[in-house]
């Protein structure tokens, strides 16, 4: 088999570049603990209202014992419920979201708060919001004719102004 010396050099360069990219990903995964969402937890999307975690009175933002915040949401045509969420800035926030009907996706623009919401599975994503302000929380997966209208409001407030009871 004939490989030109110049070509061989190029293959080494390419392999080094790929190794660099993969090295960064492995570093952030192993050392910085950055992973894509994916906890493989199942839920019966048809009976969320009867369940423990996603019944109506359990939804919303709650302070946790460790100082973090948990936001429990139901995604359903056409909104994320409850539709108005307040979270403190610079604090780890864990979203737990289940769909009551079809496939949805959620993204808070300009942040990495993003996950798919698949009926039958619970989506979990943890992030923190460094800048206070009002953010739209958009559905980014086609879910029906009203998909354009599916969004809710996320308000990031200064830590001292955040009230856990809200």
């Amino acid at each position: 088999m004939h490989i030109d010396p110049l070509e061989k050099k190029w293959i080494y360069v390419v392999l080094a570049a790929i190794a660099l990219f993969l090295g960064v990903i492995f570093y952030t995964a192993a050392v910085r603990n950055i992973h894509p969402p994916g906890h493989i937890e199942t839920v019966d999307s048809a009976s969320l209202h009867l369940g423990e975690e996603f019944a109506e009175d359990k939804l919303g933002a709650r302070a946790q014992a460790d100082g973090s915040v948990r936001v429990t949401l139901v995604a359903a045509r056409y909104g994320f419920y409850p539709r108005d969420i307040r979270v403190p800035e610079g604090t780890p926030v864990t979203f737990r979201i289940a769909s009551a009907d079809v496939l949805h996706g959620v993204h808070v623009p300009m942040t990495n708060m993003s996950t798919m919401i698949v009926p039958g599975y619970i989506s979990t994503v943890t992030t923190s919001f460094p800048k206070p302000g009002e953010y739209p929380m958009l559905c980014n997966e086609y879910c029906g004719m009203g998909h354009d209208h599916m969004w809710s409001k996320l308000t990031v407030v200064a830590r001292e102004r955040w009230n856990a009871a809200e």
Partner: protein, 540 residues
Amino acid sequence: MIDSGVRKLALSHLWVAFGAFGLASVLGLYQVLERSGVITAMQSPAVYFASVSTHGVLMAFVLTIFFIMGFGYVTAVSSLKTPLWNPAFCWAGFWLALAGTGLAALPLLIGRASVLYTFYPPVQANALFYIGATLLVVASWLWCVVMIVMHGQWKKAHPGEPVPLPMFATTANAILWLWTSAGVAAEMLFQLIPWALGLAATVDVGMARTLFAWTLHPIVYFWLIPAYLALYSFVPKAAGGRLFSHELGRAAFVMLLVFSLPIGFHHLYMDPEQGAGFKLSHGVGTFLVALPTLMTAFTVTASMEMAGRQRGGSGLFGWIGALPWRNPMVLAGILAAAMLVLGGFGGIVNASYAMNAMVHNTAWVPGHFHLIFAGTTVIMYMAIAYYIWPQLNGKALCSDKLPLIQLWSWFIGMVILTTPWHILGLLGQPRRISSVTYNSLLTLAWEPYELAMIVGGGVLTASALLFLHILAKSQRQSVTEQSFEIEYAEYFHPVTRVPALLNGFTVWNLIILALMLANFGYPIAQFFLVKTFGSTGWGY
């Protein structure tokens, strides 16, 4: 020499492919207009999502499958210099594919299958849509059989000789497609069709998404391999040179086949039904598949540089200017490479899951795949059509200038369309919305880019229609030249023999089997091991 039977077979396939392409392009222009909200009377989610679904199915399945089948028959006959194996079987594939397309088109066009080309259960389409799409895929398997049989027969008749590179690549693509389409075929046959017919009450959406992800990445390489074949075999020849490295070309096609299959989970990075470990493993494969593409970039660039220097180009970059830019194949090759560089950069962002979280399902994503597919791949399909059209019809193209205008306008239109799309994605605009209704200041920043996209869509649609015009006008000419030969690039380093591993696929199939078991075995098995909850069908 391509006999008249093969010419008719190929032209039939190509006209279906390009007809679908023309219709889908017009729908694309409607979509950018509707989405921008400039003409209020146009606003209609029902029409918009029916259009997006039709555009996706026509471009991703109908254009590609028919083009690849038609061009594949031409490649097999012309590179092996043998007659077509079993023409009746090939025609059966054509009519079955056409029937499938027709069945799927009925519900699509009347808005009864607005589930996008990715199907998205539990939103449910009319059963005819799923059945038609499945028939189209099954028909394409007949083509795969023909390619594999012709490859095998040639090898038996020429023991020890290397299979010509164009046929080696085409057979790799046939095998790739059999592996690739198994995922979506399983989703259709075991999940969506029984569910749409009412035989199954629910569908496990997690499993459906996993099976679709099996198909969703390698299908891109199924589309791309004919474009790569042209880069290896037609572009250096058209530039007046030879192919720099023939053996590494074969190695690149083998790598595309092996590495593109077990990596589909980068489409599921943000999904809850698969774990982080398997996502990482698929992520590694996603980066590895860049290797054959970058090898191709090197080989093709080296071939072009030699051609450019032979034509009197000198200096570090002077050879680029010396290339015959007025040759449609050379021009398309250069423009395809430019779009591949831009699209490949975006692809690295998507493949890195920490960055992907910022752009997942935003307008960035259609921006990315329009560059790679509608840009790089389709512009090479166009160049291939310009090259083989005279050979299939026995008539020269109707104009030397029009194809150049058409290719340039396709490139310029694609840049005007996809640059704003990428920016909109970074500004957080979701893909697949028919209007902007969010009560947020953020959306003000989106408006100028939406308007720019209309210009891009307009240029592209005009270019697509010009393409069809050139093909139709050339075919209708009365002068006949009678040259039915297709010529492939010769090699810079003479080929004596190649290692058996680069002349067949048995070992590679076993390696793929092992990789697929490792990367999809447990992720699919888990749906049978844990208690999952299916979804009933939903309208839209």
